[in-house]
Subunit: 344 residues, 4 copies
Amino acid sequence: MRALTFQAPGKVQIEDRPEPTLSADDDAIVRVEASGVCGSDLHIYHGRVPVDPGFTLGHEFVGTVLDAGAGVTDVAVGDRVLACFLTACGRCFFCRKRDFHKCESSRVFGHGKALGNLQGAQAEQVLVPHANLTLRRVPAGLGIDAALFAGDVMGTGFHAVQSAGLTPGESVAVLGLGPVGLCAVQAAQALGAGNVLAIDTVADRLAMAARFGATPIHLTDDDPKKAIRAATHGRGVDLAVDAVGDPKALDLACRLARNAGRVSATGVYTERCEVHMGVVWIKGLTIHAGQANVVGHVDAVLALMTAGHVDPTPIVTKHMKLDDAPEAYAAYARREVLKVVLEP
Amino acid sequence: MRALTFQAPGKVQIEDRPEPTLSADDDAIVRVEASGVCGSDLHIYHGRVPVDPGFTLGHEFVGTVLDAGAGVTDVAVGDRVLACFLTACGRCFFCRKRDFHKCESSRVFGHGKALGNLQGAQAEQVLVPHANLTLRRVPAGLGIDAALFAGDVMGTGFHAVQSAGLTPGESVAVLGLGPVGLCAVQAAQALGAGNVLAIDTVADRLAMAARFGATPIHLTDDDPKKAIRAATHGRGVDLAVDAVGDPKALDLACRLARNAGRVSATGVYTERCEVHMGVVWIKGLTIHAGQANVVGHVDAVLALMTAGHVDPTPIVTKHMKLDDAPEAYAAYARREVLKVVLEP
Amino acid sequence: MRALTFQAPGKVQIEDRPEPTLSADDDAIVRVEASGVCGSDLHIYHGRVPVDPGFTLGHEFVGTVLDAGAGVTDVAVGDRVLACFLTACGRCFFCRKRDFHKCESSRVFGHGKALGNLQGAQAEQVLVPHANLTLRRVPAGLGIDAALFAGDVMGTGFHAVQSAGLTPGESVAVLGLGPVGLCAVQAAQALGAGNVLAIDTVADRLAMAARFGATPIHLTDDDPKKAIRAATHGRGVDLAVDAVGDPKALDLACRLARNAGRVSATGVYTERCEVHMGVVWIKGLTIHAGQANVVGHVDAVLALMTAGHVDPTPIVTKHMKLDDAPEAYAAYARREVLKVVLEP
Amino acid sequence: MRALTFQAPGKVQIEDRPEPTLSADDDAIVRVEASGVCGSDLHIYHGRVPVDPGFTLGHEFVGTVLDAGAGVTDVAVGDRVLACFLTACGRCFFCRKRDFHKCESSRVFGHGKALGNLQGAQAEQVLVPHANLTLRRVPAGLGIDAALFAGDVMGTGFHAVQSAGLTPGESVAVLGLGPVGLCAVQAAQALGAGNVLAIDTVADRLAMAARFGATPIHLTDDDPKKAIRAATHGRGVDLAVDAVGDPKALDLACRLARNAGRVSATGVYTERCEVHMGVVWIKGLTIHAGQANVVGHVDAVLALMTAGHVDPTPIVTKHMKLDDAPEAYAAYARREVLKVVLEP
């Protein structure tokens, strides 16, 4: 089958790869109908996340179940399904606590040996371990583009606000309006946020956030601190989401949050950095960091999509053919696109 | 000043009553601009809640602060404010736990001696004890009709779903589509409910629930159990709201809820009644009962209103003059109106 | 192998039964070292829960893993393990929400066809489905008698207080001091309850509750309402546990709870009964009903046991041989024993 | 009256100061029977927190109500009371959310102009604003030394674990065994922690933690990471409390916490510092920072003390006379004492 594989930093290509076969009792094989290209794929593309040459990329996908082991009870051959970007076993210490994102045997699709050695989904077929928890049926009436977001980007935007304990009527600032930030804006609205204030430097993204009901604030042309004080009786927001993953964004998030408020550090951090713990401590902030518990959120996210409370499809910039995936990566790297969907 | 007073069961009238005067340090006096007539007023009207003749009725109001004690810091003379239907002191055992609705010195407006001997708001002026907690400024841009709901009916609809722990994506059934049920439908939507199923026998109310995004189900023409099973993969809803206050409604709510689900007994109960504890126990239900914690909810409710997530104004059937209040009560008693707003 | 089987109401006997064999990938077989006789077994013994003649009883057990399928990863052959009284799959709608007690394919050990047709543990060996979730290793240093309680009676006592949201310093009344009630007393202490008030009519049970740190109150010789008002500044307890399962107990629990308090209906209900919904509503109570989520609690319960915060072993009245199980049932039926442990 | 006043860095002295007088409606005046010297007082003593010469120090006290305004309803003249170290109004935005520690008009006793200009309690009398929320009656049978901790040090130890969401059976590491760390050890036990691991370099403090039920770990002689892995199946603790307030402690806390675990940054931070956000993010940690919500916790803390679940009195190293307070400060500064109680 055809598959998009990593070759070297800056180089990916379509190769012929063997079709996957069932191994464990609860494995499934999915024929991919659509896969997304995501910011995380770019980290691999740029060589920042090491992956062996020839490894298939891609961790967002929708498709049809081709085959399934005897232990797969929640989806059946022929079902149209979507996947979470990582697997969970459902029975370890962490899964028993619903911390599915920390499953002791978790594997991430298309991220190489270090993250479970699980071939990716930018291919014609993909093997899905622990299919009962990793897959969900696409609800009737839900489009493929929307479904593609449920187990990754929208799950992450939802996590950014829900796992940080957003309660109805609270004010939220979202810093960084890439796909995750834009999904966080939608999720905040869906959960009944009062004010949602969206901060970025890119006009198109600010416009899309506004379309999703947020008040757009330009990071440098406007004065975010002043704007947020004005919108919150001078107190700061109840929740500030850092959807960037940069010390400056985290610092701004801490400054925008109110006393006893919360900060969601959703953007990726890998290094040491300076944090103004004095501000954090004096304000009495709680900082929620890390990857999203998408397996824990996906049922709720699908229900929000089905009810129309969130709809990420406007974030999809472009549809391309799987064979054109190398071009999609290049366009992504040039920041020309927000979200590309690949179809076989 | 003019005030609508109780006289005898079935009889209320406009009388001249003395203007209120400040007594405690944190009292305020409000010039009433609008007051609502509510289902609870009907209980008094029909003599089911005993009130002395000459007592001023009404517990929903919006107005302007005319005077305030030195301890009133959160609102000022001249502010347009709305009120909660009952007062809270902010410092007793219950208030310290945020169970403001169980405040040890709570008083309900316009409900006679048994509930705190606090004259009501269907009058030109009203005395407001503990004004810091009982009153809130009407947010800029929010209409009087909407504000009127914040401290009573919408606070109750919000309580019905939020205090019963509704989480995003969950399914909700609302039984009884009076003003509280309709507000519960809106609140459920605002909190990100997936399916909202609304049950009643009155076509107009079902139509309004549908307009608010719910799936209408006729209690007798349709088969609620079957309809809800169909909408929830056969499981039943995560949360069933009994907004009626009748053993049959409670029983149906218990039957519509899923295993390990929740029931919100929001409608008023005053008596013993038969409950199928076998169903409750086998299903492992949690039943949340009682009056709403409107003082605890009002800030969130106002934020939801301001953000446009809820808008109860379509529930207002009619605007009338305070002098015509006796006629409003009579129309209410004849079930001709859903919500009447009185203006001086 | 030998096994204790149901024959007819009032009649159980030791029979020779075939040894269990592995069927599913995540099955295990456990050689039983100790099994408990529980109040639920008595329901079967008396014919109130229908079970076919020849069915093996028993749902509390500790033993050693004899054999396990390839999918059993969390325990290994040779491990000493304890079991939960029912199984959970870890992947259905309910398990994904941690409502393991409502697992769509849940089976209860030793309760006949209606509850999953799973042979019981009062035998030499027992088949354990979904062994990863159903079994846990017995922590080093923990005695068999204590371990026997972790997946059933103490899990239920824990559920009675923890799932009803007990917070540190709160006051708790426990009605009914059978094994579950006594475990609820211990669990309440372990969670930092302030006052724990224990109500029963049996002197020995009251004495044991006192030994566990509770204030004993005789149901009829004392005046429970008065005693509890005196102990709670007149307010009533934050949480009242009905560990009886009788409408009178539920009624008393509702009367003993404070405004905005909670009631835990832990005792079994199977029928309709009269509930004073007026009291429930006026007080604004929350009623938590149903069977315990022991699979969800067992890790915490084992940690509490290991730390010495709870120790149910004083509740064990007697150790008997499996062959003498019929006598144990008879003694239980005569209410001569609180908890019997059977050893092969 | 006599009062201990700040003069200059390193210099405090007993001076004659005017007796306080009631000003607001809910003020009280307390005759001090005992006051504590606390680590925070040392910050002032050393000049790190600027206070005007002549300002009375001290923020922990127990005494008797001498006089009270008309709005003081929850305590009465003649009551023995304890105080929280800071005041809360009970009605502002933050108090309405139970974030009493962020009250908009909060004042800290004995901390100079910057923190509310409220004279301290190391004196014969002290003025107590918002007495309903700031004071509590000392429960019958509770000693003065214990009561002295309720509104400050034990409230802070309790906050460190409770506000960070400790659930029963969880493992806890406490870094830094000063009075707050030792109280956190006790609070963790009281809330049903499984393992409690206590880390410090001072033998006496480690011994006291062991006496309180923790496993003592020497920071440098032992290997904390290894010890904690061994105690937690290699996972790390559910909750790590940094009771030091130093970047190294925070870093260690983050390393000791398990994936999806929590860190409580209870020790004081005032500056920027380096944080390994990579570790925080990869692990998916939640960091809870800041001062304790003692007004919110004090009722629970008193209940835990009364029930005997916590007892901080062993932490009191020495009782001295108020007149000897300058000597107490000097001994504190020389680290010769853990907690000194001053009596007039």
